[in-house]
Symmetry: C2
Subunit: 320 residues, 2 copies
């Protein structure tokens, strides 16, 4: 097994060597811009690591790893159009820097590019790889749809929310892990355990994201704090507060952004009173424990096991 | 070989039996709406016919045929957002009936659905089918990008225009034909000839579309005549006129929609004076001849040959 950063270098090198056509530049420049964005590259690293953990060279899964990363960036690109977001990772979003048509079309081309990469050197695993990849993609669209549906609802249940983030965010981490195992010809049962590890990691990851958006340090988190609160975003925190805040204060603040700083402060106070920061961390820890327990069902060398445990623990305590 | 309408029934039945999930309805209802639109279904019929012409049951290619039809409808859906079109086949477009986010996300889901269908019962042809399909998709995005680029240019050359419609429209007909041959395990050379037949058919088809938009009978064509002229769309007709109209009248009318009916009349008169209606039909006929000559390189039963010749001739003379 290698360090996270070594897998990361492999991914970044493969992305730098993609050699997209130069023309029409209106189609390909925004793709280059999007892929040049940095980002954690957590998903493709998981693919390479899972592949190596199952006894194959990590580079055996490099095309599938990059396919998943490009797919992930495609979803961000189209989500930014749908959410009308101006900034992504500190830079203007594609539809702001270019325009909406460009963002739609370049996103489509990224989705097809990811499908092309998926097939490279997949051999007899191609059919299974496509099923895993396409099934995951459909889940992600469903998750995004539920997320948009929740905007218009005040009665979202916490189980609905967990199912939404499972679809929208977590299955792609599961897919990334399962894909690595598949490319290493691991038994199907092992692929499933890797998939489940990734899904639980993803749930923990998203809940930590929710936490950081309200409680993070803006300097390390890299964006303004309280965005979810101002957008009345139905996060785990808000859903729990809507359910438990008998004073009705939270409900009264929905849609009211007349005093933004005060709103963030008030909502945060209610969260604190309900002990939500502690409770969300308990929940995150439970998902991390579940993720780690999936590893028990996989025959892993100690250093591989340590890699995935370490990654899970770091995800639960990350501050950016 | 069967009649066009028999293949059409197979396609329509397969689409009706797709069984998309019911929830989230915000994602899947627009897909059902889009696929329920009618449309010529020319592409999937070509796939089934090419498969049968190469000696296999047409239903051996049904999933791939439907994949191509869903892909085609996905491109229309996203194009309508990019072009801000209100009406498609006499009904409100998805982004008008729902909203833009829905149109983007449902389109994405259609693209992935088409990729899923492509893999069903493809067996050992899967890798080749994906290459043909994804390569075609990339061409189509490139064509759409060029089409959008042309909006801002007055100096588009006719060769650039032909390359644009080859990419945006024609290769998908080529892909549809080639896919049918592939699914029947026809030799690669035969697949290429079928592909080329489809591409030339597609060029003729698009030029006839350009002609009908200006000279069609609104009652049979199904939409208002002169839309391309009012949008200053760089069609073959406008590009030739911009090049040959030494009076400068055409150039002066670009961007000027103060008197729409008069503009349509004036532009049409210039087209007539330059004999463009006759000349575009010569060109269409030349592409049809090229399409038919591709069939000479394929070992075809007489009735299969007749089917594809008939289809080509009808495309060149269609009035809707």
């Amino acid at each position: 097994m290698k360090e996270f950063d070594e897998y990361l270098s492999m991914v970044n090198e493969a992305i730098a060597n993609l050699r997209l056509p130069s023309e029409p530049s209106g189609l390909y420049d925004p793709i280059r811009y999007t892929l040049d964005c940095g980002g954690k590259r957590l998903r493709p690293v998981l693919t390479l690591a899972a592949c190596e953990a199952m006894g194959k060279e990590p580079m055996a899964a490099i095309h599938q790893a990059v396919a998943i990363e490009i797919f992930h960036n495609f979803t961000l690109l189209h989500d930014d159009v749908m959410d009308n977001a101006d900034v992504r990772r500190g830079r203007p979003t594609v539809h702001k820097k270019w325009n909406e048509e460009t963002a739609i079309l370049s996103g489509d081309a990224m989705l097809t590019t990811s499908s092309m990469l998926l097939g490279i050197k997949a051999g007899e695993r191609l059919s299974q790889a496509m099923e895993l990849f396409n099934g995951t993609a459909m889940n992600i669209y469903e998750g995004q749809q539920y997320d948009m549906d929740f905007e218009h609802r005040l009665d979202v249940k916490v189980e609905e929310y967990m199912e939404m983030i499972r679809l929208k965010t977590s299955v792609l981490l599961g897919c990334a892990c399962g894909m690595g195992a598949l490319m290493a010809d691991a038994p199907f049962e092992t692929q499933v355990q890797f998939f489940n590890y990734g899904v639980n990691l993803g749930l923990a990851f998203q809940l930590q994201d929710d936490y950081l958006d309200t409680y993070g340090d803006p300097a390390t988190f890299g964006k303004a704090i309280g965005g979810d609160i101002l957008n009345d975003k139905k996060t785990w925190l808000l859903i729990m507060a809507l359910q438990e805040d008998t004073s009705g204060t939270i409900k009264g603040l929905i849609g009211d952004n007349s005093r933004p700083e005060e709103k963030i402060g008030t909502v945060r106070e209610i969260y604190n009173k309900l002990a939500l920061p502690d409770r969300i961390h308990e929940l995150i820890r439970a998902y991390i424990d579940t993720a780690i327990s999936c590893l028990d069902h996989i025959e892993l060398m100690p250093e591989a096991r340590a890699f995935f445990i370490d990654l899970a623990l770091k995800s639960a305590t990350r501050n950016k």
